[in-house]
Symmetry: C2
Subunit: 448 residues, 2 copies
C-alpha cells in the first residue's frame, strides 16, 4: 500500500556505522589537477601543505587508496548520532501527487545540527593525535564552525573560528553555540589580521565571505607554529570523511530493495554532495542510470554560471589555487540566508565531476527555496536549513517531472542540516520581507 | 569495560512504539480530587468540561482504565521520531568520576524539539476527529506551542497560541517556528481579550505567565463555538499521552538488564516527569527502591515551597480549580529563561504524588542550571533546553553522592527537549550576564 502515513524510517543499528571512508579518487575518470602554490606558480610542496594543514590531512588529501580506516575514537564519537535515519517522505509524495518515491538522509540529527560533524571529528582527532594545539577555521552560516567547536572540545584542542560577518550578525545563535562549545569566534573581516584590517579600511561595512574568512584563518595559522587550518568543505579529505553518509545510504536502500535514480544535494562548496553521492559514482560509471544533481543559490551560482579554471581558494590568494568551477576569488556574494552556500568556488572533486559531465546542476532563488522549506516543515515537521532546502526545491521539480511522465523514480536527497538556528530568516520569509536580490535590508529586525 | 567512549545508545526498532498509553490513576494510593468549577464552588460538570476541552479529552481526564489504546494515526505520526533513544552518558560519568551509571531518555529528537509533541498529536487528532475546527492554547517557552502548531498542521486544524510575553520577546525563534507551522501567535497579556486588556491597563510591561495565557486562551474558547482548549501540561490526559516515554524506557532498561534507582525530570507543571516516571510507579508502590526526583527552578519553586491546596489553574480564576501544590494563582514568576517552568502550580497528579510522599523535589538557581547545561553540551554535544537542564543539575548532585558512598546506582533523567532556540540565554550566560534574581535586565541585548 502506497502513501499511507507521514513517513517511514529506515534505520540501521549502531554497529553498522561504516568502519572505512570511501575515497572516490581512484574511481574517477582522471586524477584531479594538483594544487598550485600561488607564491611560486608551481604545484604545492609537501612542506607547504604540512605547514598549512595537519600532515595527516595533507596526506589524506593526496591519497589514492580506495578505502581508509576510520580511527576508533572517531567512529566512537560518530555513535553520538550515527547511523542517521533514511526517511521516506510519504507526505511530500502525496502533496505533489507524484508516482516517484522521495527519501531523505537525515543528517540534521547530529548534535551540532548538520553533516559537518563527520569531518570535524576526524580533523580534530588527527590534529590532537599529532600534537598540534589549536585549529583555525572559517565558517559561513556557522554549521562548520559549531561542528568543529564541538569536535575540538571532545578531542581536547583549542579552536579559533572566523565567521563571515553577515552570518555573525544574522545568526547570533550559531555564534553562541560555537562559544558554548568553548571556541573563540571573530567576524570576518576582523580587526585582528592584516588582511581583515585592509578590507575594513576600504569598506567598514564589508559583509565578508567564505573567501575572506579563509584568508584570515590562513594568516592566523602562519602566525602560530602550533596552529593548523581545518577545512570545512573544499578539500578532498573533507569529502572523504563525509562518505559515511553515502555508505550508510547504500545499506539503507539495499534493505528496502531500491536503487537511486536521482541523488540530490545542495552545493556551496560540495562537502555534503560529495559525501552523499560519491559512494554511488562507481555504479554510475559502470552504467547505472543515476542522475546526481547539485542545487545551488542563484545568488552564488558557481556550477551553473562559473568557469572551470585555476583559481584561488581564498580572497587574498594565499591559499593554494585549484582547478574547479569558480565565480572568481574576489566575488563577494550577496548576503543571502543560506550562508553556507556563499562561496565563489567549489571543491575540486565536485568541479571535476561537473567538468566530466557526471554532475548536473540547477540554481534557485531564495524565495522559492524558503517556500519549499516551509512546505516541507508543515508536512514533515523537520525545519530544514536554508542550505538543505535548496535540495528540497530541486526535488520538487524532479517529482513534478515524474508526475508528468508517470515515472516511479527513486529520488533521494541529503537533508544536510536543520534550520532551527535560521529561524530569523524564516521569520523574515513569513513576514514577506525576504527578497531574491541583494537589496534586502538585513538591518531591519522582524517585528511581530 | 566501563567508561570507554562518549556515550552508548540503546535504540528500539520502530515497531516497538507503544500501542497503549498507561493511565496511572488506577494504581494511585487514592483517586485525585475532583476539579471544582470556580463559578459554583462545586465539582465541575460534564457539560462544563465538554465545552472547555474536547469531549474526548474530558473523558480521558476522568478515565480509570489502566491502558488506553493509541489511535493508529497518532501512532503513525509518532514514527516521525519515536522510539527515542536511551543514551548512556559515559563522558558525564567520567567527568564526575562517579560509580553511578547515568542515562538519559532523549526526547529532543522530536521535530518540534521536545516531548510535547507526544500529547499535541493526540489532542489535535481527537479534536479533528470530533469535528472541532480550532484549538486554542497557552505556551511558556514555546515548546508546547510549537508542538501543537505542528500537530494541528498535520491533523488539519487551526490553532491560536497565547505565548507569555516574556518568552514572546526573549524567544522570537520559537514564535517564528510556531508561525512557520501555520499557527497564529499572540503575546499574553494581549490586547485581544478583556482579561489581557485589563492586565495591560494596570501594567503595560506585564511579563505575562502561563496563568495569564491560560486565562486568555479560555476567554477565546468561550468566544467561538468551534474552538476548544488544548492543555500542554496540567491535565491527567496530557500526562497519560507522555507515558510513551516511560514505557519505551522500561523496554530499553530491560534490554541492558538495569532497573532505575533514580528517575529525574524537571517540573514546571509536570508533563515530562509524569510521562517519564509514572510507568514505574507500580514498581515503587510494590517495594522497588526507586527515587523519583523533580527538579524545579528556585524562582518558581512550586513543589519545594508551595502549599497543597485548592487553587485555580489560571490567573483569572475561570479555569477549574484543583487540589495541587501552588504558589498562588496570582503569583507572577520572574522572567527566568526556563520559560516552561514558570507556572504557579503543577499537575494535580504530580501534586498528589508529592503529597503522598512518592515524589522528591529540589530547587536550583538558574546560573547553576546553565553551568550544568554547558558542561553537558561540551561533553555530549547536545544542547539542553534550560528546562531539561534542571534535571541535569539534579543528576550531578546524585552522582556526586554516589561517588561519596561508592554506590553503583542507575540514574536516568528525561532530556525533555533541546535548547537550540534558547541560545540567546546561553549567549547571556557565556557573557556573564545571567543572574539568579529578578533584577536581570532582559532589555539589554548581548553584544559580541
Amino acid at each position: 500500500m502506497k502513501n499511507i502515513g507521514i513517513s517511514e524510517r529506515i534505520d540501521l543499528p549502531v554497529d553498522r556505522i561504516p568502519t572505512r571512508w570511501y575515497n572516490v579518487i581512484p574511481d574517477l575518470p582522471r586524477l584531479p589537477e594538483e594544487y598550485v602554490d600561488s607564491s611560486t606558480g608551481k604545484p604545492v610542496t609537501r612542506e607547504f601543505m604540512d605547514r598549512l594543514l595537519t600532515p595527516a590531512m595533507a596526506a589524506q588529501e593526496r591519497s589514492t587508496e580506495r578505502w581508509i580506516s576510520i580511527p576508533e575514537p572517531v567512529r566512537d564519537a560518530y555513535q553520538l548520532w550515527r547511523p542517521t535515519p533514511l526517511i521516506r517522505a510519504l507526505a511530500l509524495e502525496r502533496e505533489l501527487d507524484t508516482p516517484a518515491q522521495i527519501y531523505f538522509k537525515y543528517e540534521g540529527t547530529s548534535p551540532s545540527g548538520s553533516h559537518k560533524l563527520n569531518s570535524a571529528l576526524a580533523q580534530a582527532y588527527y590534529a590532537k593525535r599529532d600534537g598540534h594545539t589549536r585549529l583555525v577555521t572559517d565558517t559561513g552560516a556557522g554549521q562548520w564552525g559549531s561542528a568543529l567547536a564541538l569536535a575540538c572540545k571532545l578531542m581536547g584542542l583549542d579552536l579559533l573560528v572566523y565567521m563571515i560577518r553577515a552570518s555573525y550578525h544574522q545568526k547570533p545563535y550559531r555564534r553562541h553555540l560555537i562559544e558554548t562549545y568553548g571556541a573563540e569566534v571573530r567576524p570576518s573581516p576582523s580587526t585582528t589580521t592584516d588582511f581583515g584590517q585592509r578590507l575594513l579600511a576600504a569598506d567598514p561595512d564589508h559583509p565578508g565571505s567564505e573567501a575572506t574568512a579563509v584568508s584570515e584563518a590562513i594568516e592566523s595559522v602562519y602566525a602560530d607554529p602550533g596552529s593548523r587550518l581545518a577545512v570545512g568543505a573544499f578539500s578532498n579529505h573533507c569529502l572523504l570523511h563525509h562518505t559515511v553518509i553515502g555508505l550508510e545510504l547504500r545499506e539503507q536502500l539495499a534493505i528496502i530493495g531500491r536503487t537511486p535514480d536521482y541523488l540530490v544535494a545542495s552545493v556551496g562548496c560540495g562537502s555534503n554532495l560529495g559525501g552523499f553521492a560519491n559512494p554511488f559514482l562507481e555504479d554510475k560509471l559502470n552504467g547505472a542510470d543515476i542522475t546526481i544533481l547539485a542545487a545551488e543559490p542563484e545568488a552564488c551560482a558557481t556550477l551553473t554560471h562559473g568557469e572551470y579554471r585555476l583559481d584561488f581558494a581564498d580572497a587574498q590568494g594565499k591559499a593554494p589555487a585549484a582547478y574547479t568551477y569558480t565565480l572568481g576569488h574576489d566575488f563577494v556574494p550577496p548576503p543571502i540566508h543560506a550562508g553556507g552556500l556563499r562561496y565563489h568556488g567549489c571543491a575540486p572533486l565536485v568541479g571535476l565531476l561537473r567538468h566530466e559531465g557526471l554532475l548536473d546542476a540547477r540554481a534557485f532563488p531564495q524565495t522559492e527555496v524558503f517556500a519549499a522549506a516551509k512546505t516541507f516543515a508543515q508536512l514533515h515537521g523537520y525545519l530544514p536549513a536554508p542550505e538543505s532546502a535548496h535540495a528540497i526545491r530541486a526535488v520538487i521539480d524532479i517529482a513534478n517531472d515524474c508526475k508528468r511522465t508517470g515515472r516511479d523514480a527513486t529520488i533521494v536527497f541529503n537533508y544536510s542540516g536543520h534550520g532551527l538556528l535560521d529561524l530569523g530568516a524564516y521569520g523574515r520569509f513569513n513576514a514577506g520581507l525576504l527578497q531574491d536580490v541583494e537589496t534586502e535590508d538585513f538591518s531591519t529586525p522582524v517585528q511581530a
